[in-house]
């Protein structure tokens, strides 16, 4: 009989977390491979070309999921940092710490794919458009958060400081976003996918895009779980080494 779990906080115990994720990780990997490969292959090879953008439209299958993850990973880091500050769950802190480099790479790849797409369509790799500006600001906050972990030695103090930095970053990233959108809506088109709008992109592009987005999300989850597991083992090893019990 399956033991009924009372609440979500039981996952915060590193032992429980490791036991459950050890079972889940292979499924995550399989799901990632299936969704990502079908999404990307369907998107790149079996969709028609856009009548104006030609084949360069196909970069959407990397660009949109990466951008979607870049923003949501920062939001996830904000939530996990707040959980660390309030409830002191180490897994939550490690999740924030491990998610940051992934989010950084996602932001960078969103910017780079956007630049590659922008050259033939807009005629320039980079413009100081509100969306592009707010993404470069997001990149700066990722760099700040990663650099606090890279430069200082791990301690609970640094954990608190990094969580506060993440909270400050999310406040000011949001403020900067509204600051740049205050004046003009810019060159970049609106959201390609939104739940509350009638006018989304055509179904031909929509379903492979959804698949590749799911693929990116599973990729993120897989990487995150593996990184968290590694981090937990590393910290255990450090404790063993420092206490001298082998």
């Amino acid at each position: 009989m399956i033991k009924y779990r009372k609440n979500i906080w039981e996952f915060a115990n590193p032992n429980n977390f490791l036991r459950i994720t050890n079972k889940i990780t292979p499924f995550f990997i399989i799901l990632t491979i299936i969704t990502l490969s079908t999404g990307i292959i369907w998107g790149l090879f079996f969709t028609p070309e856009d009548y104006r953008q030609g084949s360069s439209v196909k970069i959407i299958y990397v660009h949109v999921p990466a951008a979607f993850l870049a923003i949501n990973i920062y939001f996830m880091m904000f939530v996990t940092s707040v959980i660390w500050l309030i409830r002191r769950h180490h897994v939550s802190l490690i999740a924030a710490k491990s998610a940051a480099p992934i989010g950084f790479i996602m932001t960078l790849s969103a910017i780079l794919t956007g630049a590659i797409w922008g050259k033939p369509i807009w005629g320039t790799y980079w413009a100081w458009d509100p969306r592009l500006t707010s993404f470069s600001i997001l990149l700066m906050f990722y760099i700040g958060y990663i650099s606090i972990w890279q430069t200082m030695k791990f301690s609970d103090k640094i954990a608190d400081l990094s969580s506060w930095l993440c909270i400050i970053g999310s406040i000011f990233a949001l403020m900067s976003r509204y600051a740049v959108f205050f004046w003009d809506q810019g060159l970049h088109q609106g959201a390609s996918l939104s739940l509350d709008k009638k006018e989304n992109i055509d179904d031909v592009f929509y379903f492979p895009l959804l698949l590749s987005m799911a693929g990116f999300v599973f990729l993120f989850l897989t990487l995150l779980v593996i990184k968290i597991k590694t981090e937990i083992q590393k910290r255990r090893l450090n404790i063993l080494l420092s206490t001298g019990n082998t």
Binding site: G144, I148, K157, L161, I168, M175, S176, Y178, A179, W183
Partner: protein, 209 residues
Amino acid sequence: MLFALANKSILLSTSFFVILILTVGIGFGQTGDSSEKTVIAIIWIATALSSLLSIKEMFQNDFEDGTLDFYMLSAATLETIICLKAFTHWITTNLPIIFLIPLISIPLGITFYHSILISLVMLVSTPALSFISTLGAALTLGEKGGNLLLSIFILPTFLPIIIFGMKISILITNSIYDIMAHLILFALSLICLAITPFITSAIIKVHYS
């Protein structure tokens, strides 16, 4: 405040500001591009950098000689003390710069009326910079080589104010000017006044936990 006067840090930050503006101005002068827009950009960036210069001193000395311990034990709340610290930082670094702006920007090609308006914009927006600076000072408290780290943390958080301020200054030079613009920047300053002391005091308490 007295410490800043005794330490001549007012002189330091204002001379840093002047020298930065002159060097960047000379650099732009070589390219032949010395429009009002570039001068405004130079002024804003120089203001942000010169307030960055003196952040480190905000709590560091108090932290090292134990004054901060007494602040935490005293009857006044830590938030009050942080507000006062930010205010003294504003008076000692940003206020002299605001008085300097008309002097230095008229030779660089901004009309007198515009330069007065721009320094008014500065007057309402630079308190936000000082309040945000307390965050960085608290974050890098006790770090020996924290200066680079500090600028990595703090410069992006200056961005909302710099973006709004620069846009409004550009509007002023285009003679599209409205008092509402000042109100937005003043609102930003007030938001920073409302949020940052609490976060800063929480961060300082982390160092003592």
